[in-house]
Amino acid sequence: MKQKILVVDDEPQIRRQLKIGLGGYGYEVWLAGNGNEALTLTAQHAPDMIVLDISLGSEPDGIEVCRRIREWSQAPIIMLSVHNEEKTKVTALHAGADDYITKPFGMEELHARILAILRRVTVEPGTGMKPEIVVGDLRIDLVNRMVYVENEEVHLTPTEYDLLRLLATHPGKVMTHKAILNAVWGSEYSEMDHYVRVFVNQLRKKLHENPARNVRYILNEPGVGYRFVMPK
């Protein structure tokens, strides 16, 4: 059965292109031009995925729609945003969005995001978790809490390991600074996002990241947080 995607954007041309593009990838595409329509269609058709524009130009706006959908539906939501909207992106993520993509974007990029999210949500709880995560030269042994780069053991402090495990067990998912702080340090640290920066920096050095050669495991989401690379 085809998976259903609801596209919500106030711009008809964008809706049309997304219908062509996503249809081309084999999805069944539903279109909504405003927030109320989006809420109705979500209720009627239970889409497997919602692509939702942050600024809909009318009430309710994208973030409000996202919040309302989250009150009763767990359908994954990807927000469409524009540059210089870091704070809005963070708000959207905290309102329950799963990811965001910045306009203008390529259809391949959007499809990759959709696949990553669908893969995460379709994994049955308890069955999807592998005891080992391998990305490029990096191998994380979750059972023994061991980390190897090019088969050589990397010594991490407990905090560094917790941080790496949190990111690596959510590959492709954007993790906000706040979410990372809450999970690794505890909620009382939720405003100390520079902690995350310092530890990510240390972690990257220990993992021998080399951005100039695109050897990277932890990707930056400027102003938002971090994202662990998707294993190929």
């Binding site: 210089n84 870091e86 390529g106 902690y195 920096n201 240390q202 990241e209 050669r213 695109n214």
Partner: protein, 463 residues
């Protein structure tokens, strides 16, 4: 009170002199006495003024006549010639008194004038340093209250209080410069002002008006300069829009119409090339529009920084990775020390600034070499150096490449570097370009380091 005291002192001095003279009247002559009294009158004139002097002249005349000229204790004069002496004494004493008091008065006036001049000089100097009308009003109020002894000063229409002082004399003066009236000053004094005091108050007020006019004119000049710059930018943006933006649009349009018209004749290879061109040109267009927006935001002063403690190496790493993704080549080398502290900055904007500089440097980097991005701390500043090994930039170009829309060495619309400079200056940092030893350009940008950021960073690292 003061005048009564003066008269008492005058009378007492005459009495003392007369007493001494009576004791000596057998030894000294009339000529001696008249001289002594003349001296007394002169002293009174200089120290107390015309009226006490005239009075003491007349009293002296009678004292001499009554006590010192035989027959004693009578106003009769025995020797007819002494009448002449006495009359001459009276005239001379009167004249000396007048003369003396005039000298005194002139001295007083000179002192007053010197005081006024000092006051005006001080006032002018104070007014010249002021850049805001409120400062002028405050200074004027202060001067009128302390130096001119006004009991109450209000600047109208700024003041909302109505006059509360009603037992004095209130003056209303206009703060007028040229055609324009800035305000009205109302000042109350305990006693009516003399003509010279009023003149001085008027001078103070007109100095204040001149200061207000000067401030207004300089503000207008600054504003018109800003308008001029904004206008220049607008023209430049229009030119850029018409030329630089149209190029990618033209390419996209022609590619799309080719695709539509000839899709059945095109080989898959050609079709792929055309669609790739559309995507590339769209990215190019997106960057241009982003730059234009940033530039106008910078020029309008509408850039708001979302400051956080950021890792400069992370920013450089992002840029290096982006370059790899575009070219699939390792064109950038990073060198950052282990313990570089976090720097308070806006991640997105700073990344944009560094990325613009790196893009510029990459354009001139020889194919077999790498652009270096290095971080370091010097004093109270964090430095990022972007080192390129291409051609050295001429001094003329060095001065110009940071200016918006300067068509540089390769005809690109020059927005990247001016935006970088604007962003860095918004962070209270600096950006300049040096020669790379052995050829090339090194861009140096600095960001201020606060005590707090470095301490915070150290603590974090320990934790």
């Amino acid at each position: 009170m003061k005048s009564l005291q003066t008269y008492v002192v005058v009378l007492a001095s005459i009495a003392i002199v007369t007493l001494v003279a009576i004791l000596l009247r057998n030894t000294l002559t009339l000529a001696n006495f008249t001289m002594i009294y003349l001296l007394l009158v002169l002293i009174v004139a200089i120290s107390a003024g015309t009226i006490p002097a005239s009075l003491s002249a007349i009293i002296s005349f009678f004292c001499i006549n009554f006590f010192l000229v035989p027959p004693y204790y009578s106003l009769l004069v025995a020797d007819q010639r002494e009448i002449l002496d006495l009359v001459v004494f009276l005239i001379v004493a009167g004249l000396a008194g007048r003369l003396g008091s005039r000298v005194k008065q002139q001295a007083n006036e000179a002192q007053q004038r010197a005081h006024e001049q000092a006051l005006l000089y001080q006032l002018t100097r104070a007014f010249n340093q002021l850049v805001h009308p409120d400062g002028v009003y405050q200074t004027l109020t202060h001067v009128l209250q302390t130096d001119m002894r006004a009991v109450w000063v209000e600047i109208l229409p700024m003041s909302t209080n109505s006059p509360t002082h009603d037992n004095g004399t209130v003056y209303y003066l206009l703060l007028q410069g040229g055609e324009r009236i800035y305000a009205t000053v109302s000042a109350a004094f305990d006693t009516p002002l003399t003509e010279s005091q009023l003149a001085l108050v008027n001078t103070c007020v007109s100095q204040a008006a001149m200061a207000l006019q000067r401030i207004e004119l300089s503000e207008r000049a600054i504003k018109s300069k800003k308008f001029e710059e904004a206008d220049k930018l607008k023209t430049a943006i229009l030119q850029a829009v018409s030329h630089d933006l149209r190029t990618p649009i033209t390419i996209i349009k022609s590619s799309a119409s080719n695709l539509r018209q000839f899709h059945d004749q095109l080989s898959p290879q050609e079709e792929h090339e055309i669609t790739e061109t559309i995507e590339l040109e769209t990215d190019h267009l997106d960057r241009l529009v982003g730059n234009l927006l940033d530039m106008s935001r910078l020029q309008a002063g509408a850039l708001s920084l979302n400051r956080r403690l950021n890792d400069l190496e992370e920013i450089a790493g992002d840029i290096a990775a982006q370059s790899w993704q575009r070219t699939r080549q390792e064109r950038i080398k990073l060198c950052f020390p282990e313990d570089l502290p976090l720097v308070s900055s806006d991640y997105g904007l700073l990344r944009q600034a560094v990325s613009n500089i790196v893009d510029n440097s990459l354009r001139y980097e020889p194919a077999d070499q790498q652009v270096e991005i290095c971080g370091m701390i010097q004093g109270r500043e964090a430095f990022i150096k972007i080192v390129n090994h291409g051609e050295t930039i001429s001094d003329a170009d060095k001065a110009n490449i940071m200016k918006p829309f300067y068509h540089g060495r390769d005809g690109h619309i020059g927005l990247g570097l001016p935006i970088a400079k604007g962003i860095i200056e918004a962070h209270q940092g600096r950006l300049w370009v040096e020669d790379t030893p052995g050829g090339g350009a090194t861009f140096v940008l600095t960001l201020p380091l606060s005590e707090e950021t470095s301490d915070e960073a150290k603590n974090t690292r320990r934790g």
